[in-house]
């Protein structure tokens, strides 16, 4: 019972948008899609939704192909926000929910709940064009979740939101996950993925470069970060054995090292030099992994 992508490839003419992507996304999980612009995230989503047909391979949801008969079970927040600018919020939510098989009374009730939850109950009778971009985003999110989908696809859900709204939205997403919704979402923001997702996939030019559970990915990456703060010059560490990258900071140095063994060596070395105010060995952040795997092309 899950979303399966089986050796999916999508070509547009000669251009390879998605190349041999295989994923298994378990039910009630949150799955993160990372990738630079043009990595093939949106194309993958469109294939999952059945808007585009894969050139090769197949995509199934609970063993079935996703098509218009399953559309009431699926929620979609597109990357480019889209609502009728001249229509009242109420009318458009009711219309779009109806197309997902929801009766008018139900969708109105749900709408009130969600508007209150996002602390904007007064928007019910406003037109979309009167709202700020962030608030339009909330309405867009409501259209994606109002019919209680089993599978929710969020393409860049947090872009363009202020921190308070990001928190509100994150809470809502987590709650949906708790209630059993399978969620696939893409983001540029590593910290969001790191915070929310158990499983993730990093795409690079249509190819999945890393995928699996967050813990495993971090473990198998091997490299770790070492942060040292001291009152004397630490720049000599940059040339030590096992140091891959070094960056001077105001209070000390930030190193990327090959493994724990290197940290031990460095610890011994600087212990003789003098007092160290901070010495922390950190797991690699997703950001580091992304930069390494998806290349310097990222932002």
């Amino acid at each position: 019972m899950s979303l399966l992508l089986d050796h999916v490839t999508k070509r547009f003419g000669k251009f390879m948008a998605v190349d041999d992507l295989s994923l298994a996304i378990p039910e009630s999980e949150m799955f993160g899609f990372l990738g630079a612009n043009g990595a093939g995230k949106t194309t993958t989503f469109r294939m999952i939704l059945g808007l585009l047909d894969p050139s090769e391979g197949k995509i199934t949801w609970n063993g079935k192909r996703i098509d218009y008969s399953t559309s009431p079970q699926i929620g979609y927040l597109p990357e480019e926000r889209g609502l009728y600018p001249k229509l009242k919020i109420k009318d458009q939510i009711v219309y779009l929910a109806k197309l997902r098989g929801m009766a008018k009374q139900d969708s109105l009730k749900e709408l009130v709940y969600w508007l209150e939850r996002f602390k904007v109950p007064e928007y019910e009778n406003k037109k979309v064009e009167e709202l700020s971009k962030g608030n339009q985003q909330k309405i867009q999110f409501i259209t994606a979740v109002i019919h209680k989908p089993k599978l929710l696809i969020l393409d860049e859900p947090f872009s363009g939101l202020d921190p308070v709204n990001v928190e509100q939205m994150k809470e809502a997403v987590l709650e949906l996950k708790e209630s059993g919704t399978t969620i696939v979402f893409s983001s540029h923001r590593m910290e969001h993925v790191e915070e929310l997702c158990e499983y993730l996939c990093i795409m690079q030019k249509g190819r999945p470069v890393v995928h699996g559970s967050l813990k495993e990915i971090k473990r198998s990456f091997g490299k770790k970060n070492l942060v040292i703060h001291a009152d004397y010059d630490l720049s000599f560490l940059a040339n030590s054995h096992g140091v891959i990258k070094a960056r001077q900071t105001a209070e000390g140095i930030h190193l990327q090292i090959a493994g724990e063994k290197t940290a031990e060596d460095i610890f011994k070395e600087i212990a003789e030099k003098g007092f160290v105010r901070k010495f922390v060995l950190e797991e690699p952040s997703l950001h580091d992994i992304f930069i390494e795997k998806a290349g310097a092309s990222y932002e």
């Binding site: 218009y68 480019e80 197309l99």
Partner: protein
């Protein structure tokens, strides 16, 4: 099917409620009512404005008969025998006391001649009225000079009897042709305007949904083909609503004005005994024509990403409608021209031309049937092709406004 109806009624109702639709409908209805009551409106403004013309009658004989005759044809022009000099008369005209100054005299053949002086001669209604009265006068006088009796004179002016009879069996009689021409003319206009107006509306609707990016949500819940046809039908319903309203208002206001007229509304337009088949053809070709152009418009609309580009995109389509209309207008006088016959089988022209031919000529039944079949085939072809382009087109964004994009859109939906 359920979603189909949802989109259909959403399109219909939301368009129905827009200000622009309501305003256009009201304006059109007002214009129709205005046109129907035009003579009444003109009369209202001209009620007590009898135009006074000063007449200097140098002959001393012409004034009385002329003013009598004029009274018989036009009560709005009053003649007054002016006793002053020409200079005084001119001055009076310049000061606005009289509308104009008419100087009557005899020429060397003792026949009337006249000079008309007015502030400006832009208004041609009064002088031409005066001229025709004088012309009659002159004819009578000239006739009596050569001793023609009024009966003889009548004979000269009697129009020649000239009847046209079609020898081919089933061919329409002259009277029938005239009736048909009237109806065909009116219906051609209806088809033309409906196609231009509502096809535009559809293209606009699709482009709006695309440019506001709501399309991506829509196509993830409902298939593009369903959407496209729901929209076409929705707008079609809208067009019928609008036209029914206008026709109804037009019918009643004309009827009211003609209540005294014998035979009523349809006689008045010469629609008295139009064969039912002409009406049926009008309906069929109107509906098919609408579908053909609506499908084309929907798929053209799906190719643009900004509303500003839509006009550019559908201009070729509009040109096609205009061309069809022009040929049809030309064909009204020469419905049998081979050029018209050939073009009536080209799908984009069929709705207007085949209908015109079916209405004007007595075609063998297979001809309009063939036309309908060609039209149906074209619609199906265009729908299948259009739906594929639509499906890809709505996912395409960027600076797209050329016909190359059709290829790109098709590529998007291809499976490999």
């Amino acid at each position: 099917m359920n979603n189909f109806m949802t989109i259909l009624f959403h399109t219909y109702l939301s368009k129905l409620k827009t200000k622009s639709f309501i305003v256009t409908t009201i304006i059109t209805v007002l214009i129709v009512v205005g046109l129907a009551n035009l003579s009444g409106i003109i009369d209202f403004f001209n009620k007590d404005s009898q135009e006074e013309i000063a007449v200097i009658d140098e002959t001393g004989e012409l004034f009385a008969p002329i003013s009598e005759q004029l009274k018989a044809v036009n009560k709005e022009i009053g003649l007054e025998n002016y006793n002053g000099t020409v200079e005084n008369g001119e001055k009076a005209v310049k000061e606005g006391e009289y509308k104009g100054l008419l100087i009557l005299s005899y020429d060397q053949d003792e026949l009337p001649e006249a000079i008309y002086k007015a502030k400006s001669i832009a208004d041609s209604a009064i002088p031409s009225e005066l001229q025709s009265v004088l012309q009659q006068m002159k004819t009578q006088m000239a006739a009596s000079q050569i001793n023609l009796s009024p009966e003889q004179l009548g004979k000269i002016y009697e129009p020649v009897s000239f009847k046209q009879i079609a020898l081919e069996e089933n061919a329409k009689t002259e009277e029938e042709l005239n009736q048909a021409r009237g109806l065909v003319y009116v219906l051609l206009f209806v088809i033309y305007f409906a196609v231009v107006l509502y096809a535009n509306m559809i293209a606009m609707e699709v482009a709006t949904e695309k440019s506001s990016r709501v399309m991506e949500i829509l196509i993830s819940s409902v298939s593009p083909i369903k959407q496209m046809f729901a929209k076409i039908l929705g707008i079609g319903l809208l067009s019928l609503t609008q036209m029914a309203l206008i026709l109804l208002v037009g019918y009643y206001s004309i009827k009211q004005n003609l209540s005294s007229m014998e035979g009523g509304f349809f006689e008045f337009f010469g629609f008295g005994n139009i064969p039912a088949s002409t009406i049926a053809y009008a309906l069929i070709f109107f509906i098919l024509g609408y579908f053909l152009y609506a499908t084309l418009a929907a798929f053209l609309g799906s190719l643009v990403s900004r509303i500003e580009d839509i006009q550019q995109m559908i201009t070729p389509m509009t040109m096609m409608v205009v061309a069809g209309f022009m040929i049809a207008m030309f064909g009204l006088n020469q419905p049998e021209a081979s050029f018209v016959t050939i073009t009536s089988y080209i799908p984009f022209f069929t709705p207007m031309l085949m209908f015109m031919r079916a209405g004007m000529l007595s075609l063998p039944v297979w001809e309009p049937i063939l036309g309908i079949a060609i039209l149906l085939a074209a619609i199906i072809l265009l729908a299948v092709f259009g739906a594929r382009v639509y499906r890809g087109g709505v996912l395409m964004y960027g600076n797209s406004n050329s016909f190359k994009d059709i290829k790109k859109a098709l590529l998007l939906t291809k499976n490999d």
